[in-house]
């Protein structure tokens, strides 16, 4: 009779879960809330600051064109290329800045770790899809823009199970 009780227990468990709340995150309408403003790195202490590893953000007033990020990426994805910019900064005599190809980037964040001048951070923006491959290449001017994200869904626990509230 162990079989019969087992079958009844399984059926009971199944029926019981008809009343539990759905857990699905309805993605385009809801977006998960991510922690912080994105992954950042503090070169003086050598430790990063927790955050989502999304699209990069480049601070033009801090970038010196040292190519350390491109060198770091060489062994990983070869996604960063240094391109000429029509800007005149005193710390950036060569006037070159990173241009990132998100068709290749693996979002490991090692380029952020490599930057000693607080110039390259990552942000919470992960919706980078584009109709063309060229659209995935972000120029320094595009990387300068701080993305606007509306992410507010969080996992909520209550008596009838967890949901994305």
């Amino acid at each position: 009779m162990g079989t019969a009780t087992g079958i009844i227990k399984a059926l009971n468990s199944g029926i019981k879960h008809l009343a539990v709340k759905r857990f699905t995150l309805r993605y385009p309408e809801q977006k998960l809330k991510l922690i912080g403003d994105g992954y950042q790195y503090d070169p003086t202490s050598g430790v990063g600051i927790a955050g989502y590893k999304g699209r990069h953000m480049l601070f033009h007033d801090k970038c010196t064109g040292c190519q350390l990020c491109a060198i770091a990426c060489e062994g990983v994805a070869e996604a960063i290329a240094m391109v000429k910019v029509q800007e005149d900064w005193k710390q950036n005599k060569k006037a070159i800045m990173p241009q990132i190809d998100y068709g290749k980037c693996v979002f490991c964040g090692l380029c952020v770790d490599a930057c000693p001048f607080y110039a390259l951070y990552m942000t919470n923006d992960y919706e980078l899809s584009s109709f063309t491959k060229e659209g995935l290449i972000y120029t320094p001017a595009q990387l300068q823009v701080k993305p606007e994200v509306q992410q507010d869904a969080e996992i909520v626990f209550d008596k009838r199970g967890a949901t994305h509230g």
Partner: protein, 433 residues
Amino acid sequence: MSALAPKFRFSYFIKSILDNLFWIIILLTLTGIPLVMILLFYLELPVIGGKLLDPYLAFTTLADPSRQIPLLKSLLQTEFFRIAVFPGFGFAALIAAGTIFVERKMLAKLQLRVGPFYCGKVEGILQLMSDGIKLLSKEIIIPAKADKPIFWAAPVLFVATAAAFIALIPAAGGGWVVADVDVGLIAVFAVIGFFPVITVLSSWSANSKFPFIGGIRALHQMVSFEIPLILSGLGVVILTGTLNLTEIVESQDPYWWIIFLPIGAIVFFIAMLAELERIPFDLPEAESEIVAGWLTEFSGMMYGLVQLGSYLKLYAFAALFVVLFLGGWSGPQIWPPFPEEIITEGIQMGPINAQFPGLPLLDQQMLNDVLWFVVKVVGVIFFILLPRGVFPRVRIDLLLHIGWYKLIGLAFVNIFIALGLLYAGVLGPEGIL
């Protein structure tokens, strides 16, 4: 990037629609109306209100809606209506479509997810329709070495057999059944016997390994579970003394056979799951072992037809279970009686006072029967669907073991219970109850 044709012009689009419209009107008037006349000449026309329904009368009813009521009433009595609409194909297809939707939503709820959600605004009720359109628009690919005629015929035969099965199921009292035959139950089992044949034919004709294994599995499974299915139905026949399904239903007043024959009902239910290839007995379609079993090579609407057939079959089996064990359509009268005014005068709808005497096309008793029948069928379908979320698939040797050792044994126990009840004089044609 654009999905439209490169030389798309909106004016051309409008023009093409107008062109089509023009030709449709021309062809309809030139061929359609004469065709209707010819058909009306050959058809045996009903007598409406003492007059034969000729084309003139048919056209005049269009002018006065109240004169259409006798026409509709006579239509409800025709064979065609029974086959195509009410206890037959249309009704079953509607319930099958509902079953598919309920299955997906219920399974999703059990699995803590949403299920179909976006198509049709409200919880995805139009999902099935969109799936159907998708299947219709898909290319039908036939394997190069397939035996083409049989391969083509198999899905059609599958649906046809399922429809034949439905034809034998009575849905309400007063003769609401397509084929009211005296050997109803035997006919049902005879029709069920076609399914393994069709399955094996289709899988063999596909000339492919995985469908072949699936077909052989389906053959094993269906043949071995038909025996307990028939034997467990036998208990009811012993107590009722008839094979006619309508009479079986009428014999269950006021006690349903499930009260006296619970073992038979359980055996019938399990054998039914196996016949339907539902989890936990979906071995012929076990996708992790043999891709999709005997459905592997079907594509497009051929697959859609097989799915339609299998859900029609599901409805038919659920209805058969209701007829045999749950008292069919019998139940307390809960459908409210029609007010006198509706029958004699017509409907009072706001400012419009329509005078349609004799309006309710169907009587109160029949609607009540159908209501109970549908409620019971839906309940049984729920229990057919539930195991899909709860149980894993069994293995072929365990399945055959269940079929040949346990279920047949239990079916015989059920027969002895029925015989005991009969000879003790408790039940049966001359029983106490």
